[in-house]
């Protein structure tokens, strides 16, 4: 299936799904050792929910949206299809972003001892679940 990340500034996020989204982020943190934070955002950079102690989530969400734009163009220019994930390794750890459907993205922060194989497995699953939660919430909003 081909996914495209759409800009959805016209639609406000629904607080109804936030507890479930937060629950999913907490579950991800609990399942993968050395994960220090997780954040769900819309593809245009609005925070949906976050479980980060140290960081400023709005800034990370905005930077995620910017990185997402570049990653998407790069994947398309290289003929690799729609965006799936992005992994950045710094000297002190990892920042990874995973597509969560076409309208949301999951960003995970992890320490340098993190098991990236496990992180990929768990975060891809979480991305799929977040996509469902976001789709459900939007579906509910469209009902009169």
């Amino acid at each position: 299936m081909r996914l495209t990340l759409r800009q959805r500034t016209e639609r406000k996020w629904l607080p109804a799904a936030e507890p479930e989204v937060l629950e999913e982020l907490r579950r991800l943190r609990a399942r993968v050792p050395h994960v220090t934070g997780a954040l769900a955002a819309t593809s245009d950079g609005l925070v949906l929910a976050h479980d980060t102690a140290a960081l400023e989530p709005e800034g990370v969400a905005a930077l995620t949206a910017a990185a997402l734009g570049v990653a998407q163009s790069l994947a398309e220019a290289a003929g690799r299809g729609a965006f799936r994930e992005l992994l950045v390794r710094g000297e002190d750890g990892y920042v990874a972003s995973y597509a969560a459907g076409s309208m949301a993205v999951l960003t995970v922060l992890a320490g340098d001892r993190a098991n990236v194989g496990r992180l990929h497995l768990e975060a891809r699953r979480s991305g799929t679940r977040l996509a469902d939660l976001v789709a459900d919430a939007l579906g509910r909003a469209e009902q009169p």
């Binding site: 050792p33 098991n115 990236v116 194989g117 496990r118 992180l119 990929h120 497995l121």
Partner: protein, 124 residues
């Protein structure tokens, strides 16, 4: 000297009862190569999970103050053997070979012997 894929294929064909094999980087938990496996045995899951096994054992040895290195780790299931062999040569530190064997068909002593031979010939 054999490259990763050749060495894994050799393990798969020369070791009796081999269900799947992987060469795994346990600093990241990602597989450098896999052969075999399938729906019953997802080798990327096995790579990530066994990375935790290896790391836990390395840490335990540090805490026990053992000045030694792990040669291999054997996990015996009801119907399978899982064999983890840590690579020693320079340039392949931080890697392990992972084998899943059918318990009814495998000869454990022979499998360990073959694995040692494959490790010696492996060039990453």
């Amino acid at each position: 000297m054999a490259n990763t894929q050749t060495a894994l294929k050799e393990a798969m064909t020369s070791i009796e009862g081999c269900l799947g094999a992987a060469l795994v980087d346990y600093t990241s938990g990602m597989a450098l190569g896999t052969v075999g496996g399938g729906n019953d045995l997802d080798l990327t899951v096995a790579a990530a999970g066994n990375t935790d096994v290896v790391r836990a054992k390395v840490r335990t040895m540090e805490q026990l103050g053992l000045q030694d290195a792990i040669e291999d780790i054997l996990i015996t299931l009801g119907s399978q053997y899982h064999l983890i062999r840590l690579l020693k040569s320079r340039g392949s530190q931080g890697l392990f070979l992972y084998l899943a064997l059918d318990k009814n068909r495998a000869n454990l002593a022979m499998a360990r012997h073959q694995l040692r031979r494959i490790e010696a010939g492996l060039e990453v």
